[in-house]
């Protein structure tokens, strides 16, 4: 167990190093930050002075190791755009993204499971077929288009919901929340739907398939033969057995909801880390881009590590593998 854990952690750290290295080598192709930082009246000396000051005259490998050295001490540098510490900016922006991800994740889970069950049980019904057809839209329409369509309908035409921003937020011990005000809750609706729609259709289709499979099992047939009520068969016996893979997938998808909130945040001007990242790219704000990419890779690597460890705990075959030498 210990050897396996250590090996997996070592692998994870190695992955993080590689991600950082690749990211840093890409930054050179994003453009020259100095150009954005100095006005049009700058002189060549200004450019050189600033480049040297920021260490941009060094090869990227040197820049990378300097970044790692600082990052290890918890210092992610100063944003070129805002002139404030990157860690502070990320912390300030994180609640917006996490709340959005949480709400859309919950919505995707609840809606996906409910609709999945519905379409599985009434799989020949008219309603189920409509839902299945509509779900294709959820899977195939790009996020930004869904967002803009929702804005057009609910903000411009109907005027019910705000088209941008977080509304009023309340600060609770360093965490800004939109859950406590009416405008904050209203502002959450459209972005959450936009962000969660894809996940919801994914979960719905997964639940439906699993459910159909389970419903064909012998124990369900026996339950029916025993004369149990339909409701109890569907929800107590079938659903429970459906949920295991659903929960695994949902856990893994949580990472991507956070990471891919970028587009939704841009469309709705949602002040989260995704919007921050987009701004950073346009401005070639290397410290912010680096910190964001590292954060996201830490998150993904972390989730995968936890999943691996859980499998190890659950699945005895992995333990047997160790004696036979690797897997």
């Amino acid at each position: 167990m210990l050897a396996y854990t250590i090996r997996r952690i070592a692998q994870s750290i190695f992955v993080l190093f590689v991600v950082g290295l690749v990211a840093f080598s890409m930054f050179r192709f994003v453009g020259d930050p100095v150009d954005n930082m100095l006005g049009q009246e700058r002189t060549q000396e200004d450019v050189e002075r600033l480049r040297e000051q920021l260490g941009l005259d060094q090869p990227f490998i040197v820049q990378y190791f300097r970044f790692l050295e600082q990052a290890a001490q918890g210092n992610f540098g100063l944003s070129y755009r805002q002139g404030r510490p990157v860690a502070e900016i990320l912390l300030e922006r994180a609640p917006a993204t996490l709340e959005l991800a949480f709400v859309s994740g919950m919505m995707a889970l609840a809606g996906g499971i409910a609709l999945g069950i519905f379409t599985a049980i009434r799989r020949r019904g008219f309603g189920a077929n409509v839902v299945m057809t509509l779900s294709l839209i959820g899977v195939s329409l790009p996020t930004f288009l869904i967002g803009i369509l929702l804005i057009y309908l609910f903000s411009v035409e109907l005027g019910w919901l705000p088209s941008f921003g977080r509304g009023e937020v309340v600060e609770v011990g360093g965490w800004t929340t939109g859950f406590l005000t009416a405008s904050g809750l209203k502002a959450l609706i459209l972005p959450s739907i936009t962000l969660g729609l894809y996940q919801m259709t994914l979960i719905m289709r997964l639940v439906r398939t699993e459910m159909l499979e389970v419903l064909r099992m012998d124990y369900i047939r026996f339950a029916r033969a025993r004369g149990l009520r339909e409701k109890s068969i569907n929800f107590r016996h079938a659903l429970k057995n459906t949920l295991v893979p659903v929960i695994t997938i949902t856990g893994l998808q949580l990472g991507s909801i956070i990471a891919f909130a970028i587009i939704t945040e841009t469309v709705f001007q949602w002040p989260g880390v995704g919007l921050l990242f987009i701004n950073a790219i346009q401005f070639v704000d290397i410290p912010v881009m680096a910190a964001y990419l590292m954060l996201i890779s830490v998150m993904f690597v972390g989730i995968n590590l936890i999943v691996d460890m859980l499998y190890f705990a659950i699945d005895p075959r992995l333990r047997a593998d160790r004696t036979s030498g690797g897997h």
């Binding site: 020259d32 006005g39 009246e41 700058r42 002075r49 941008f164 005000t181």
Partner: protein, 525 residues
Amino acid sequence: MKKTGILAAALLASTSIGASAETIRWARVGDALTLDPHSQNEGPSHTMRHQMYEPLIIRDMSGAFQGALATDWAPSESDPNVWTFTLREGVKFHDGADFTAEDVVFSFERAMTPTSDMKELLSSIVEVRAVDDYTVEFVTDGPNPILPSNFTNLFIMDKDWTEANNTVEVQDFEGGEITYATVNANGTGPYRLVSREPEVRTVLSINEDYWGADEFPLEVTEIVFTPIQNAATRVAALLSGEVDFIQDVPVQDLSRVSETDGLRVETAPQNRVIFFGINMGADDIEADNVEGANPFADVRVRQAMNMAINRDAIQQVVMRGQSQPAGMIAPPFVNGWTEELDTAMTDVEAAKALMEEAGYGDGFSVRLDCPNDRYINDEAICQAVVGMMAQIGITVNLDAKSRALHFPLITDGLTDFYMLGWGVPTYDSEYIFNFLLHTRTGDRGSWNGTGFSNAEVDEMIVSLASETDLDVRNETIATIWDVVQTETMYLPVHHQVLNWGLADGVGIPQVDPEDQPKFKFFTMN
């Protein structure tokens, strides 16, 4: 059930609490980068500062000079190297401190330090001295007739406040520390800073003690600013009534906005001209398929290219009428601009003949570098020009990319045919000549990617800085423009047009040509 009832009631209540008539909700694509008055010489940052801080003089929304913290200014009668400014009396900073000459001297000295982004505008100043509490003298290294035009974005801070908050130095990225002035403000301006979350929301409220309370409408009592990056979302926010004013309406949405009840679009030519630069100076260029020669070195080729651009077509098709075709690379309100120079004609046949004459009847191919996120429809303009050049036999390979990648190509001399836009904050041709025409040396010619270099012209450009006889100076400017028009190293395209989308209740004297709304001039009803 009861819960939903409460929630619904709460939702209803929140919609009925509209903004009071005096609040203006304002959005544009990007936020100010910092509030520090002398860091980041950049449009959106200056616009935000103009609400809170004041320079000695400003341009009103029509572009004319107007005294702000200064009431009078003139070159000294005894010494041509000195400008004397008389300051406004009885002005107070937001924290209650008195505004005096000491603050002016301090602010200019701060703006001239190496980490300041404003220092280039003040490079001719040798000394700033306070004669008495309300008189300041600026000593320059030679006569500088247009010195005041460099002061319109040079904001005055309170010396004591700045020192007390340990923010005397303009923010320097090396320090790795955030300075007080980047997120706090204490100016003399019409609005005070209430709260600011960078990139999210900035709230300003009226300064009750503003010196100009009787002179300006000052009907806006609160400003709520939100940057909204996505153009469709920005327009949607205006259409749905969530904001009252957006500064950048995309050209494709203009009719949508102006046809909506309660909204209107106001338009004015912007202080920015869009043009192409051609590398005429190199012996051979890399971006073409002609070996051992530079086709751009031949003036006939450049003139042919200039004649091949159909500016009216670009205006109608690409810009949907939202541009003003240009024949010179100076915006209309700049000293030196003439209507005659600003007209260009399209003549494809004559252009073909010129190409033939120059020995390029069969044409050649060349790469065009173009930004895709900087100017209005920049990439689409370049695409249109590709087709127009094809008519005279020049095969253009378009390479469009982000501004962060595009502009270094020009300043590093890595492009031979490129798009550039230029604004003239000083409203004088000298500014254009300094950056776009002078031989690339030291402080001058940093944006001259054309390789044009003419010692005589350089001399004339330098002489502009110290020529006090305005007639002689204007004559020199005209002579230099003649050279520019004959040599045709730049192919002007058009003057950009600003489109402000406003709710009907918001009144403005006119659209500010520098795209800097100053809310003290706004009216609300």
